[in-house]
Symmetry: C2
Subunit: 692 residues, 2 copies
């Protein structure tokens, strides 16, 4: 960085010249000159030589540079003072240039610094030291119910000193690399566990912005982060493979991997703690012909959609494409009016509105239609109704067609068939011809979760694996298996549990539960216990006095068993299951990480007190409590927010807010930089209209 | 931008304070103060009030800010001067902070300005005007030899006023969107032709940097530019389709397009001028098993390679992968030691060396091998031998294995079999197990070119279509069909042509050519004609006197017909055909653009003088002359250059030079920005190790 000091010196040198310019009067420097003369003539004896030279220099500089033309002017000006404005403009222009110069110099310095940094990132000499690899890692023992290789050791167990010490720590196996698993990995203290992550995809996907990647507003790479980078923090291991089964008794996870020749291979991975964060699959809702649809779950889906959209546009330009076929190709249908479907429709509309006309024949713009088919009465039905209506108004303005109360019956290669209720409530079958159909209608359990559910009698939910409020898989050995994210649902059977609480209470008091009367203080005690165990019930247990009064129908001042049961059942019915969102998965992952950190610290003590595994969770950490932070959605150069009951929507400023929220939540500095680059790129160059 | 003026004001305010700091002595300002006193006391009557105020201000400012602690100091200092260093540090610190503040303010202002610009790029209200489309465009007439639709008009012919006026201009059809076609499109004057570009790919690929995209040093999007953006400049049309045949007599191009249902459709596109820039296909050299190889011609190839490399690394990490299989998966073989193969090997090595160790088990790094199989005795055999050796030394240092004088016999799924000459010249069959094989061994004619060559008797070159020096397809009607880029080769039969020149000369002089004696002035005249027609011969026709002397074997002072023929044949043999590079295609495209621009301007005049089409080319513009600008190659944190006979290679600085050359040649501002972003991204975050 040789530029900076020199720049400062140059800056210092330029300063004296600027002094007289800030004077209100142009003749100031001339006066200074005479002033100097007076000075040197009257007080030569008290000034050291260096000082005299310094003053002379400064004076001369002022004179030479600023007032060349005034050199012959009289000391006392008798001519009128020249207008100030011109010198002021000059003055600001000069300063502006100086500032700009300084800015360029600093920017240049930063660029040079960056190049120096860049040069330091290239490794020239390959590392060639010998790497110790355990024989057990190369030739694993066989065993388990199916006599498969059991992978106790990994080829990178001895790679670093940290990894060596971690080798014999409890084995924490994490399935999946979605929001839940990554949140867990990012919060987990390194060193406490021997971590292994198993997933068929080696990237974490920032799902909320996936619709933006389908049309090139964002690039695919900006939404994904290599999982190995994240796993590296906890010195863990990553296996690109698929979990297929679990043996709870031997604590073995059965894993299927694909060899280079495409053959499937299976092996066992032992675990002490297993976290299932395998996510979900798209719900087909029993509709035929979904092979004609696109989905939007993974980053490769976004690439396929992008290619298909451009392909349709290109075919629509061909002279051999008849008019009707062109209209069909340009008819984009989205089945599902949830956030994904709506945001995709919005992004697609943006692209067609902003970029299409610039490069494709204008007639295409007129023949394009975007349709959203929604089964409920409003799109975005999980949002506040005002927001749904705001979004619908926005889409109406954009000529995006919204079909509500419509159920898709069948998707064919060139049309989609759906039924819709007319005003009289009669079902009418309609159809739409389409050149592109996106299927985004909720989630369903994947194969691995189905296998797990089938092994456990107490798992009855068709859509997800049930966990208790400590996120432990219900029916599996306590403290061994946890489920987070879309794969899980937290059990809501509050009343059953509370009634068992009640029975405990009765037994404690030595009374018969059926005849027991519960006083208001008792009720407060019960409610407190309920809240601590089911945090999501807190909202409904706020006004304990009112509830007590309301359900004390005989006005006896106490609740009997029947009255209390009724109260709790009512509360239970109000609790909905948690939404299948990134937010929930993220919070669950962070919760588990905090718990595991505490467990690791507490376990030596607990083991000394011979407290068994199952109870540790509840002993060391509170139950999981979901905090809804709000929902937001992009709806085409506008965005809507539903944050803590505050609902608002708006245009561009809201879009910038929407972006900044996701920017802040983005997984790494890398993705943040890439997002900023992508947004700048769109502003400067538009979206790329290419497919390959 | 409210920040800027405020910043300037702050800057202005800070200036006077800095004046005394550049003085060599700390007591200077105190002296100025006394100086001021002297001034004001002695000459109050001649100074206007404003001036006095101005001077007082300046003096006071100096005093207040700089010398607070010196306020009570005597006019003539008797105490020792305080140490300068502390105040100087403060002074620089202050200036540093002020500069930094200014820098931040200007940067902030730029960011705000960018956001304002960004906000202006969103279109809110969809365009809904009616678009006129010609009935002829929607229902084209049928005709031609195969009675197919003939596309005279397009659906976007009436989109803008410019396009309307262009509708009846000569039809220029350009096949392909590679270097040649894009260079032509970028240089062509808009408005002179009705331009239609036909290509199966809607992007232009910056081929020289393609190897960098295979491992993620650069992103795919940074190397491609949407063709529609380039075509837009000349208000042209683009069809994503494939040319299959040409009818020279009716001037119809037969085009095959794929409908949405996958069915092939054919139509005719009429042309007045046809430019064939369809490029080439990879040369299989008759080797079996190329289905097991990757190629590197298009951007999608780079994506496939990237995914395959990461896939191999991931499989190598699985515990079920045996040791030997791991070594096979990590054995990367490149068949072909030309620039593409060598640069790929270099990029692959960089990635494995710089990024692999960070995230994958360390043992992988030790088991990786990269091999280059080259049929010649050196890699990069088109470069200077010193450079080849430099590259080989570099690869030897990097443990990249180079097999020279080796010919691949067969590629199998897991091994590659090749023969190599041993020291005694005996052929030995060897094999290498591989997990990845890249085939990059020269180019061959594609199907369309073969079809064209088969139609024309005079086309005998197996590898490319022959053109004359005006780039006109030999054998096709003069001035109708041009071939550029890899698809073409410029005819080299100099001697035949010159002898026919000679005959013309003889007839002009009324002499029998076989008996004619050519004097030195005559020879100069002939040589001049030869140079103007075959520019690539110029180098060999520099020393005309020496040549004359050398071939005048009987020392008669004149050449006879036999001697002259011998001379010209020698020159002909020295001329090699032009290389199949981006550089040549680019120059040919630019050449054609300049010629077409001239033709458009000259044609009215020529038509008035009833000069027929065939002669126009030679009348309006000189023959194509290839200027070799040099070759460069990246060889793994080093680069080599072969520019105008100057050969040099080097490390990082050379790499930066290599990058800046390609940066400058990149197709658009967009790709340049993206390249800079990608390089920064690599420096900051490394390469992404993901596949999807």
């Amino acid at each position: 960085m040789p530029h900076l000091p020199r720049a400062l010196a140059g800056f210092a040198r330029s300063l004296p010249r600027q002094l007289p310019k800030s004077r209100p009067n142009g003749t100031a420097a001339t006066s200074i000159r005479s002033q100097q003369r007076c000075f040197t003539s009257r007080q030569p004896q008290v000034l050291p030589r260096a000082l005299r030279r310094g003053i002379r220099r400064a004076g001369i500089q002022c004179h030479q540079i600023r007032f060349k033309s005034d050199a012959e002017a009289p000391v006392a000006p008798t001519t009128p003072i020249p207008p100030k404005s011109r010198s002021r403009i000059l003055h600001y222009a000069y300063k502006g240039l100086a500032s700009l110069g300084l800015f360029m110099v600093i920017s240049g310095g930063l660029v040079v610094a960056f190049f120096i940094y860049d040069a330091s990132t290239y490794q020239d000499d390959p590392e060639t030291s010998d790497i110790p690899v355990s024989e057990y890692a190369l030739n694993p023992r066989r065993g388990g119910p199916k006599n498969l290789p059991i992978v106790d050791y990994f080829i990178d167990d001895d790679d670093t000193d940290d990894m060596k010490t971690q080798k014999h720590k409890p084995k924490l196996v994490i399935l999946g690399t979605g929001w839940g698993s990554v949140a867990l990995l990012k919060q987990l203290d390194p060193g406490d566990y021997h971590v292994t992550v198993v997933s068929p995809s080696n990237h974490f996907l920032f799902t909320p912005m996936l619709p933006s990647a389908t049309v090139g507003t964002l690039e695919l790479r900006s939404l994904v982060e290599p999982v190995r980078k994240i796993v590296k923090r906890v010195k863990g291991h990553f296996l690109k493979a698929l979990a297929v089964d679990v043996d709870f008794s031997e604590k073995l996870l059965e894993i299927s991997s694909t060899a280079a020749n495409g053959k499937e291979e299976r092996f066992y991975l032992p675990y002490d703690k297993l976290v299932v964060g395998v996510g979900s699959v798209t719900n087909p809702h029993g509709v035929k012909g979904l092979e004609h649809c696109h989905f939007l779950k993974d980053i490769s889906d976004a690439r396929l959609i992008r290619n298909q959209v451009i392909r349709n546009l290109e075919i629509a330009c061909l002279p051999t494409t008849p008019d009707e076929e062109r209209r069909r190709l340009l008819s984009f249908v989205v089945s599902g009016g949830g956030p994904t479907g709506v945001e995709f429709a919005a992004e697609l509309y943006d692209m067609l509105n902003e970029d299409l006309c610039k490069f494709y024949p204008r007639v295409l713009r007129n023949e394009i239609s975007v349709h959203v088919i929604q089964s409920r009465s409003h799109i975005l039905n999980t949002y506040d109704e005002a927001l749904s209506k705001f979004a619908e108004a926005r889409f109406a303005h954009d000529n995006v067609d919204i079909q509500t109360n419509a159920r898709v019956k069948e998707v064919q290669a060139d049309r989609i068939i759906y039924t819709q209720k007319d005003d009289e409530g009669k079902l009418i079958t309609k159809e739409l011809s389409h050149g592109f159909c996106l299927w985004s209608t909720g989630v369903s359990q994947n194969e691995f979760c189905q296998t797990l559910a089938a092994k456990i009698d107490s798992q009855n939910n068709r859509h997800a694996l049930e966990t208790d409020t400590h996120l432990r898989l219900v029916g599996a050995p306590m403290g061994d298996v946890y489920v987070i994210g879309d794969a899980s649902t937290v059990q809501n059977n509050v009343s059953d549990h509370i009634i068992s609480f009640l029975r405990t209470l009765a037994w404690e008091k030595g009374k018969d539960p059926t005849n027991m009367k519960i006083s208001y203080p008792d009720w407060r005690h019960v409610a407190k216990r309920v809240k601590s165990r089911f945090p999501q019930a807190s909202d409904h247990l706020r006004r304990l006095d009112k509830l007590f009064e309301q359900y004390d129908k005989d006005k006896s001042g106490s609740l009997d068993f029947g009255e209390l049961s009724e109260l709790l059942r009512q509360i239970d019915s109000k609790l909905t299951s948690l939404p299948a969102t990134a937010q929930r998965a993220n919070q669950q992952g962070e919760y588990l990480a905090r718990k595991f950190n505490k467990l690791a610290h507490a376990s030596p003590g607990l083991a000394m007190n011979s407290i068994n595994d199952g109870d540790i969770d509840e002993a060391v950490y509170k139950a999981f409590e979901y905090k809804h932070l709000g929902s937001l959605a992009y709806i085409g150069n506008a965005a809507i927010f539903d944050i803590n009951g505050m609902n608002f929507g708006g245009g561009l400023l809201a879009v910038y807010l929407w972006r900044s929220i996701y920017f802040a939540q983005s997984v790494s500095l890398r993705t943040r930089c890439l997002l900023a680059m992508d947004w700048s790129k769109r502003a400067l160059f538009g979206r790329d209209m290419m497919n390959y």
